[in-house]
């Protein structure tokens, strides 16, 4: 069951792994719920019908890009507007390309009918939880599915409540809920730590991300930083 080889053995998809994935995702649930409430409330405020809002949450399922899209939503949907929204979705979610690529060494030998539907509900927290689990020697793909399913259900349910309730969440800042995601992500760095030499890649990622955000704005800073860190990581020799 161990081994960090590049996926010549088929990873198991077990119920035990699924349950573990759900449990591992519990700490991030307050953040996912607050985020879902905000997306639902925004859809209601912008005049989307409940069904359209729910449909978008299920088939797009990428909250940050949906918030940006709803702010920029055209009054009449032309072909040009559709194209612009597709480009926006691809841009804000471009980091997913890198994230799903990183799953390949582990899950590449999984049957397509299992992995491709699972990738639809891949989200930042479930990806991180699964990569951490994998980096600690785990191989059960059920962890990815379980953590993705519970975050998807929690987020979509919360978005329905947010649509109906709207103003319940007027003051997420007071309780620090707006910072739950960055707090959780930063805490994940501790189990991912593999010595200061490897952390050079993280430093480069951070510097590039901040520079791109300050100089260019927009949504490319995560992808730019992640690519920079990843390339540097590829060229660091295993000194330690």
């Amino acid at each position: 069951m161990s081994g960090t080889g590049s996926g010549s053995s088929k990873p198991p998809w077990t119920l035990t792994g699924f349950n573990l994935g759900m449990r591992l995702a519990l700490p991030i649930m307050p953040g996912m719920i607050a985020f879902g409430l905000a997306v639902g409330a925004t859809a209601a405020r912008k005049g989307f019908s409940f069904i359209d809002s729910l449909l978008m949450n299920v088939v797009v399922y990428a909250g940050m890009s949906q918030l940006v899209a709803m702010e920029a939503w055209p009054e009449r949907v032309t072909l040009g507007a559709m194209f612009a929204l597709a480009v926006l979705g691809a841009t804000v979610n471009a980091r997913m390309l890198l994230m799903s690529a990183a799953l390949y060494p582990w899950l590449g030998s999984s049957p397509p009918w299992r992995i491709y539907p699972t990738l639809h509900i891949l989200a930042d927290p479930s990806w991180l939880i699964s990569m951490r689990y994998r980096s600690e020697g785990g191989s059960d793909a059920g962890v990815l599915l379980g953590s993705s399913v519970i975050t998807a259900i929690g987020w979509i349910a919360a978005s329905c409540v947010g649509y109906a309730g709207g103003m319940l969440i007027a003051d997420v800042r007071r309780y620090g809920i707006d910072l739950v995601m960055p707090i959780f992500f930063a805490a994940m760095l501790i189990p991912l730590w593999r010595g200061s030499r490897r952390a050079i890649a993280w430093v480069v990622a951070g510097v590039v991300a901040v520079a791109v955000q300050q100089l260019a704005g927009g949504w490319w800073f995560i992808v730019a930083g992640a690519i920079a860190g990843s390339v540097v990581g590829g060229f660091l020799d295993d000194g330690d």
Partner: protein, 105 residues
């Protein structure tokens, strides 16, 4: 803001366009890897990715939010170092963020 006509074909088409683009990102990276020859360098690049994504996503927020984010994230990292439990880290970070804001930072 103008209300958006519901059950309108245009809205559904726009949602579909976003859905296709987003799924292309989610599945695309995985799919592309089938066509890239595996190598030690590529493996190391992918291994560096989780930490790099985290730092690239979080550091600009810290720069933007300033002292509250620094205190909250710093406290969470210390709690994680000490306890190795994510839930303790998250609750510590949220408590510090709430306290910092209550104190008017």
């Amino acid at each position: 803001m103008t209300a958006i006509e519901s059950a309108n074909f245009g809205v559904l088409a726009a949602i579909a366009a976003m859905a296709v683009a987003t799924y292309a990102m989610r599945a695309g990276g995985f799919w592309m890897m089938q066509h890239v020859p595996p190598s030690a360098r590529l493996r190391k690049m992918l291994e560096a990715l989780p930490g790099s994504v985290i730092v690239a996503a979080v550091l600009p927020i810290v720069v933007r939010d300033g002292i509250t984010a620094i205190l909250a994230i710093g406290a969470a990292v210390i709690a994680m170092l000490l306890t190795r439990r994510d839930i303790v880290a998250v609750l510590t970070g949220m408590a510090v963020a709430a306290a910092a804001r209550a104190a008017g930072l």
